[in-house]
Symmetry: C2
Subunit: 432 residues, 2 copies
């Protein structure tokens, strides 16, 4: 880790700068695949699956027998773990339900706000070495709680044309029956346009590699919404003299093992921790199966010593971390002065892993400083808010002149007239 002691605030921005990946080079292939999927539907999906995943599929949907069989491929212990995690995620997201909001500030002018589900949503789960079944919980559970009518899942087939049993088990546990063996750009294109076999959706959720990232951006130009812009995962650990160097190192490594481009930042107000954590990192790193990846990420990571909590908080805020672990004695100060973070892990017994899997919070979070303006995935991500109003004749009489004056001042005479014509009718009715 590079170490910086009390750096000048003017240098913070450049010190905390994330590597910016430019994906423009990928746009031609994304554009081509989208065009082909729009034109040729499932035939194009099969062709690209053969090309990119190296497997020739006879059918794209996962069938019932595969889901049945998958259950046998998952240990009872893992099933129980997934079920406990699902219960926790359900409890936390269910608590996010909001009631209808009703305001009648002027009698006869009733306004209300209701949330209704996004009817059709798509979940993308990447393939690769590890089956990311935990992400299914994070997306399917709130989608179900929101009441989304059609929830589909796309994931690339493995080399033998199947899907990892833990993915199928988790999807089935979450009540998802429409699972399609298609990955990468072609999966995002299929959910964007719809094909004979894969329904079009209104919003696409889920992680992916750089191709999927560009494909999701592309989808937004075709009228589909996405969960949030993506970037490499990040962790910032803030610690003082009450923290545990071994715990901190284990957390930094859990972030580092995601990929060589993972962002790992360590900040402390207690200078001796710098060396203690560095030592622990070295010690723990040796035993990790993904040590090459983790070592690269750690080499690119940064440690900061800050002279006081005011400076430490300011540094954290200027980074706006996706994951933020806080191991300090004065938790209240740090929490109340925090302006932006995706998810915060407070105290020595709250590793990031807890939120990644099972505490109940969502692990789909804003990276790349987007915590300044984006929320992580939550129940509302699967709902849209709609407003309603009902005015009575009396209500319109009380508000009508205000509307007329404003419409006239904006030069919108027909807007004014829609009120005037009603007020005249009310007056006429009152006379008779």
């Amino acid at each position: 880790m590079e170490v910086y002691k009390n750096p000048n605030p003017e240098d913070w921005e450049s010190l905390l700068k994330r590597p910016t990946a430019s994906y423009e080079a990928l746009e031609p292939v994304v554009s081509e695949v989208f065009g082909e999927v729009a034109l040729k539907g499932d035939e194009a999906l099969k062709r690209y699956t053969e090309k990119f995943d190296g497997i020739s599929l006879s059918t794209i949907p996962v069938d019932e027998s595969e889901i049945q069989a998958a259950s046998k491929g998952v240990s009872e212990a893992l099933k129980q773990a997934i079920t406990q995690a699902k219960d926790q995620i359900t409890a936390f997201h269910l608590a996010q339900k909001t009631p209808t909001i009703t305001v009648e500030n002027i009698p006869g002018v009733l306004c209300w706000q209701e949330k209704r589900p996004i009817e059709k949503v798509g979940i993308y789960i990447p393939g690769g070495s590890a089956p990311l079944f935990s992400t299914i919980l994070m997306l399917a559970v709130p989608a179900q709680l929101a009441g989304c009518k059609e929830i589909i899942l796309c994931t690339p087939p493995n080399k033998s044309g199947g899907v990892h049993p833990a993915i199928l088990f988790t999807a089935a546990l979450c009540g998802i029956s429409m699972i399609f063996k298609v990955g990468g750009i072609q999966a995002i294109a299929a959910m964007t346009y719809g094909t004979p076999q894969i329904p079009k959706v209104y919003k696409i959720f889920g992680p992916g590699n750089q191709y999927v990232t560009v494909a999701k951006q592309w989808a937004t130009k075709q009228g589909v919404a996405i969960d949030m812009p993506a970037g490499p995962s990040e962790l910032l650990v803030m610690a003082d003299q009450t923290a545990n160097a071994a715990f901190i190192a284990s957390d930094l490594l859990s972030q580092a093992e995601h990929g060589a481009d993972s962002q790992v930042i360590f900040v402390t107000t207690y200078e001796p921790l710098l060396a203690q954590v560095a030592e622990e990192l070295e010690r723990q790193l040796k035993n990790l199966p993904r040590k090459e990846i983790a070592a690269q990420a750690i080499a690119n990571s940064k440690s900061f010593f800050m002279p006081n909590k005011e400076a430490a908080v300011a540094l954290v805020n200027s980074y706006a971390p996706e994951h933020y672990i806080l191991c300090v004695s004065d938790e209240d100060y740090y929490l109340s002065n925090l302006t932006a973070a995706g998810s915060v892990f407070v105290g020595n017994y709250s590793p990031e892993s807890a939120g990644d899997y099972a505490s109940g919070t969502n692990h789909t979070l804003p990276t790349n400083g987007y915590a300044r303006q984006y929320s992580g995935v939550n129940l509302d991500a699967f709902l849209k808010q709609m407003t309603f109003q009902k005015l009575t004749a009396l209500g319109l009489e009380k508000l009508g002149e205000t509307i007329e004056l404003m419409a006239e001042a904006e030069g919108l005479e027909a807007h004014k007239n829609a009120v005037s014509i009603r007020l005249a009718a009310i007056k006429n009715n009152n006379k008779t």
Copy 2:
């Protein structure tokens, strides 16, 4: 209006298709302006203001004396109207505040969700013939209620280098003191990158022409969020035999006067209304100052007769209107079966104008079918949701094995280790 009687559902999609504008032709100029503003800051802003707005400005910020003077340029009656509208909008958006959500499903595993303001937001208000001061209320009021620390407003100068007094008055009424005379692409670029005079923001709100629309899309590629994708404004009126043809025509015209590309749809289950509304349209159109614009929009608009309420609701849902006026006897049926609309106006005395100006609901709404997956601007648009968790040693003991099993099954050993190392320490502590 083109009239369709009980069209085949297979044809709905094409009948209800919005004209899709492709803005790719505008990308080169947007890219150029962004590049110049990034490089040359305020000097570029002045240069483009001279080029596009035809005015050479000495200073970009509106100064205090201009704001003072503006107050005299607005009639007392209009001031009162704007103030009443502000009160209504404040009441409705204040009611949208949500409390911190706390869940402790397993003792010792405490998770909570809080909303915190987006610190820096930018509001764009177009220039042109009409001063859209009402949009300032719709954006600045919730921004203030959310607690955004820095709220800036950009609007193009008029030919004499000033800003319409109603805009300055409304901005001041909403507590906005940072107002900049800059419009179009260059304004969006300035808020995206920041210049010596104009601060960078994290999210940009507000309407605009096609250049502003493309510039806002461009801004999202530079890490800034925007309120929502834009398209021409739309209204769908649904009416049965209890509706008033003159009121309906006035509403359709209030939408039509926005521009020749405005989308106006009329749906009824009561066939005689088709002719009655057409007649009223013709009668009312004559007296409008913007009749040429409105006549063009009406000529492109469509009327539908649907044989029953089931078919009518299905047609409305397949359109997902931005504004939806509902004048029917069975309101409950229509409301409860509605799946997507930006804002709904219920009954004969709820013209769209009410929500455009003063009832309290927001008028920044999803167009182009985006009501299927986007919310209109609301209080939450100025907040981001953050999650927190604090586990005790006991809590981690109860959840730890689940996390370990899941992390291991996903092949993320360091994630598992962050738990194992803590569980081992807890065990050790318990022994001693």
